[in-house]
Amino acid sequence: MRKHSPESDVAFIAALAELLNKNDLTELSVKRDYGPDDSLDVRVVKQSNIVQMAAAAPVVQHQAAPMVAAAASAAAQAPLEDPAQHPGAVTSPMVGTVYLSAEPGAAAFVSVGSTVTEGQTVLIIEAMKTMNHIHAPRAGTVKRIVVSDGQAVEYGAPLLIIE
């Protein structure tokens, strides 16, 4: 008897999760007996975030309202979605303006693919007319540069990803 592969199980569970989300469900339990020795027991739960929903609502309200503008502008200034969550992310320790090279026209400190050593300057953040060198927290390879030259960043904004 053909056993189900872990891959197909994952696909099955992924489908269930999607289904949960699409239908706004909070819990889904499936026990599937494929055969005497072949059963799958899945429970997919979503902590309904009752309150998050309410919390999130103000932002989605008026299409033209200032709240959206605030959210949008915050997002624009700090793309906190993906890169910040990345384990290899280097985040900004201050509010300021990013420079990728030591001076205009000079070569960038690093580029995607660069190998960096711990403590190496990867970029500069100007704050209060002071140039602050941002150092690589660990050795590795620059996988992605999230910011662009001259961009304003807030505290905690992801700068680049080193792996």
Partner: protein
Amino acid sequence: MSKSTKTSQPIFDKILIANRGEIALRVIRACREMGIKSVAVHSTADADAMHVRMADESVCIGPASSTLSYLNKAAIISACEITGAQAVHPGYGFLSENAAFAQALQDHDITFIGPTAEHIRIMGDKITAKETAKALGIPVVPGSDGGVPDFETAIGVAAAIGFPVIIKATAGGGGRGMKVAKNAEELEIAFRTARSESKAAFGNDEVYIEKYLQKPRHIEIQVFGDGKGKAVHLGERDCSLQRRHQKVFEEAPGPSITPTLRAKIGKICADAVAKINYIGAGTIEFLYEDGEFFFIEMNTRLQVEHPVTEGIFGVDLVREQIRVASGLPLSFSQSDLEINGHCIEVRINAERMPDFAPRPGLVKVFHAPGGLGVRMDSALYGGYSIPPYYDSLIGKLIVHGRDRPEALARLKRALGELIIDGIETTIPLFDALLAEPDIQKGDYNIHWLEKWLETQFGAG
């Protein structure tokens, strides 16, 4: 109020608000009504806060700790630079009375919406503040002006300032070496006892004498200067209901202040700040007893309780701060300012009763009271989680009525409508206070609340 609020002169395009919570919202509201863009700054803990949602732009300036965020001058100035904000409103608390911050902004060509660094510095120091007040004609607590060497001098001082008096150790503190004398006979014993206690406690028997206030009220006068030698006063607020020097209930006009008294002390305060070219909002705090005012300190910023003054005068004090900071004249003169009705504010804190222990957490439901004469200033919303890092003030409920009884009745009604579900708040405190005859009559002083708490719960 009849003056036009229209301004043809240019004002700031963008203001950064270096604060959080309800006061940040308060400033954003004024900006929005003036057509000025607002920038919110916030810590990582406040990413979902209402002030961030409501502002036109926002900048994260540091981690949860306020030392590294809301008190982080460099980060705030950098936030001005990257957003192009031309002015900073500091709210109250945080950097609002920080002379170095005001100076640093000036050095960066950013307008501080508040008085000059120099005025902040003068009033920030207890001793220079008192000296300045005295020099400007503001009444201070009368006393011996230094050590009193012997009983004969003491008698002379006491006779000059009037009984009761209090004898305090020059080197003292914490109540030791402090004696009250109600008349000349008591003075002799009190003087000797105070000296010997001072000697024993501090190794120094020098004492000084001050007028002793038995049941003073906390009365503060709102002033407003244009920075060019003009200033007005906006009457008083009675903020006597305090617990551990934290105000909880404020009202205007003060139940004990007559129009004559108000006009007199108001003029003294307005003249004083006019003389030093003070700019913006300021509050001169007094102890008040038996028709006399005694200077405590001056706050060189907007007060938490400013809405009660706005309520009775129908003016927008934040709008006015922004106006004068931008160089515009005051939009009202003293004769425009007429008191209309009565206003009370209660501070809704995320605190457990009766011990006032902070109770941050998730606000499941928030429902503001509505209807005539009710104003709610709060940064809460349903689903908001109050972070544990900051002040426990989560809202101010302000009511206006034609007179004090109407305002009190409205307060009771509005408190009954206010719903903050999920956390403990000080709402029950006010329900209980409103049932007290002393509160209904306006008969209280700075000791009243702590005594009442002790009677009710055995704790101050």
